[in-house]
């Protein structure tokens, strides 16, 4: 991205001044290198989002932003329903509530390293991963509706995990206001056999080792000690969310026309939050959130079983579960006035600071854990929300490394077998059913996650707690 049209407004903050139909300015976070490496489309998409009705304060892009659909991936935008604010299916994305959860093991990697191969095989055989892989659960219509209303709470009731897990999941493991009637039968059909599955693409289950601690007190509070391993799971609402996205994108295109909302590109299709179409989408999207939370809860239970089988101990305690594709109703103070806003985060993580009432009580004094996924060959990070993050981008931070190379380019540049061997030479065991998939997900096809996290820290979006290195990756 050419920086000439941007005004540097902070150490790692760049502003796009209002022009044309923009109702608010645009703000992109990142150091100069990240900004220069960003696709020009990010600026265009940030500006387009700034034109939507009812947008408040600014249209934001996180340091890992890249070209998305309508909204940039890494985009954050809040809308006021009382000011004609809109909700956009594209602003949430097809993988509703895709997110990361991290589990503490309390086990030093050095103590179990000799069982890595067995653990990898067992996890690979236990957790369904990859295209077309189904889970052991088959939901009938009534069970489907219960799951869509109940989220992770439903999963725990079915015996997947423990009640104490729920406090460590955003919104207590269940999005209120989910109405299964707003979800099409096609969406439910797509989900029927997919509970407890990872999916494909950039989804994974990894064992990662705490490699460096940046904040001893918070890391201790989060149960993170150097050399210990954690389990991280990255996946979302599977076929259900994908179909909800497909269904409502179409509906919102009609709604935008009906309500006279001009769209710079079709993918920005949206409906007023208070319209029947907007309300229906929000109800369906909440079902998508619950589906994703139930899915990650079931996978957690499967991972615990695998640990138990191989290591004779499976007490994986949930550190936190965060979603990075959502739209949530939140209270925010804007220019000293408290307002109820609907905050879209498309490839962005909520990052609430110390003392925030929505952070699990046991972690509240440290701030919310912000889980940043890297690639199968590079670091992941645990960050914590900051007090000032609410004043910057509605309490949001980055979500991962973010791609800097298309899948096509990656496939042409690397062979999956070589990627796997190189990772193996680094000491990372990778299990996957597709070599081409590994080539497309090659670590070098992503931005430098260290730089992304550093920028998020410098911009005050979140602060660094610990760095994790992957040692075992079950690739979706």
């Amino acid at each position: 991205m050419n920086t000439s049209g941007l005004r540097r407004t902070g150490d790692a903050e760049w502003t796009i001044e209002r022009e044309g139909r923009m109702r608010v300015p645009g703000v992109i976070y990142g150091d100069e290198t990240l900004i220069r490496e960003m696709d020009e489309k990010v600026r265009e998409q940030v500006s387009n989002v700034a034109c939507l009705p009812g947008i408040v304060k600014a249209s934001f892009a996180m340091p890992d932003a890249h070209w998305g659909y309508g909204f940039p991936i890494g985009g954050v935008a809040a809308f006021d329903p009382e000011d004609g604010g809109v909700v956009s299916a594209g602003g949430v994305g097809f993988d509703i509530s895709c997110g990361v959860r991290t589990l503490n093991t309390g086990i030093q990697w050095g103590d179990i390293q000799h069982k890595a191969s067995t653990l990898a095989d067992t996890l690979f055989n236990t957790v369904p991963a990859g295209v077309g892989r189904t889970g052991a659960i088959r939901l009938n219509d009534s069970q489907m509706d219960d799951m869509l209303s109940g989220g992770a709470e439903w999963a725990v009731e079915q015996g997947y995990g423990y009640p104490e897990d729920l406090a460590r999941i955003e919104c207590g493991g269940r999005a209120d206001g989910a109405y299964p009637g707003a979800v099409s039968s096609r969406a439910k059909e797509r989900q029927r056999e997919e509970m407890g599955t990872l999916g494909s693409g950039n989804h994974y289950l990894e064992i990662q080792v705490v490699d460096e601690v940046f904040d001893e007190e918070v890391a201790e509070g989060f149960g993170l000690r150097r050399g210990e391993c954690v389990v991280s799971i990255h996946c979302g609402s599977r076929g259900l969310g994908h179909q909800i996205g497909t269904d409502y994108l179409k509906e919102m295109l009609k709604a935008a026309e009906k309500y006279g909302i001009p769209l710079a590109e079709r993918e920005l299709a949206c409906a007023p939050i208070l319209s029947p179409e907007g309300r229906a989408y929000i109800s369906a999207m909440k079902c998508g959130i619950n589906c994703a939370l139930a899915n990650r809860q079931i996978i957690t239970s499967l991972a615990r079983n695998a640990f138990l089988k191989v290591l004779k101990k499976g007490e994986l305690t949930l550190l936190y579960d965060v979603s990075h594709n959502t739209c949530r109703e939140e209270s925010h103070s804007v220019d000293g006035v408290e307002r109820k806003l609907f905050v879209h985060r498309k490839g962005a993580t909520n990052a609430l600071g110390p003392g925030h009432p929505d952070v699990a009580a046991s972690l509240r004094k440290f701030g919310q854990p912000v889980l940043i996924g890297g690639t199968m060959g590079t670091a992941s990070y645990i960050l914590a929300g900051t007090r000032e993050s609410l004043e910057t981008a509605f309490g949001s931070s980055c979500h991962g490394a973010g791609r800097n190379m298309s899948r096509n380019q990656a496939r042409k540049q690397w062979r999956g077998e070589e990627v796997m061997k190189e990772l193996c030479d680094y000491g990372i065991t990778v299990k996957s059913r597709s070599y081409r998939g590994l080539a497309e997900e090659a670590p070098k096809a992503y931005k430098d996650v260290n730089r992304v996290v550093e920028s998020a820290s410098r911009a005050g979006l979140s602060r660094k707690v610990a760095r994790l290195l992957p040692v075992l990756c079950i690739k979706g």
């Binding site: 696709d39 489309k41 993988d95 295209v131 077309g132 494909s200 179909q243 096509n408 597709s434």
Partner: protein, 161 residues
């Protein structure tokens, strides 16, 4: 052998832009930062739609690995040709997901803004097809359907994976 020669020819003519060229009907992939653009071309809109579907198959697996044995029928309609392309490909994504199938042959008939398609494929096998990635949804990004001055139709969009 023929396929290899056609690929060479395609590289000569299109500078490697096209991944496969078979007679007049072609499919290809184009760049998108995070995901994949799919493009079908042909002497008619219907054939371009069929080739776009083949390009979607190629996102998931090598089309040549698919035995076109079982037939599935799709009917859909929309208010414009571009939206019809999204409708058609979204229906294909749905059928692939719920039937756990991949398809290697498509025949598309268009009547105005209504589409009727037959597609042939088989049950997805991780061993045989080595599936790379599932398609989550069909987007409106880089969406286009049109005919050039030489009468060649193009149908394209980006799919989210």
């Amino acid at each position: 052998m023929i396929k290899a020669r056609l690929a060479e020819l395609s590289a000569d003519i299109y500078g490697g832009k096209l991944e496969l060229r078979e007679e007049r009907e072609v499919w290809s992939h184009f760049e998108h930062g995070a995901d994949i653009g799919i493009r079908g071309e042909g002497p008619s809109a219907a054939e371009a739609f069929a080739e776009a579907a083949m390009a979607l198959t190629a996102v998931v697996t090598e089309p040549g690995s698919v035995t076109a044995s079982n037939k599935v029928q799709i009917n859909c309609s929309a208010s414009s040709m571009e939206l019809l392309l999204v409708e058609w490909l979204s229906a294909l994504v749905y059928e692939m997901a719920v039937r756990k199938m991949v398809f290697g042959r498509y025949e598309v008939c268009l009547s105005g803004l209504s589409l009727s398609a037959s597609m042939w494929g088989e049950a997805l096998s991780s061993g045989k097809h080595q599936p790379v990635v599932e398609v989550k949804g069909v987007t409106y990004t880089a969406l286009g359907v049109g005919e050039d001055d030489n009468g060649i139709w193009t149908a394209q969009c980006v799919v989210d994976v």
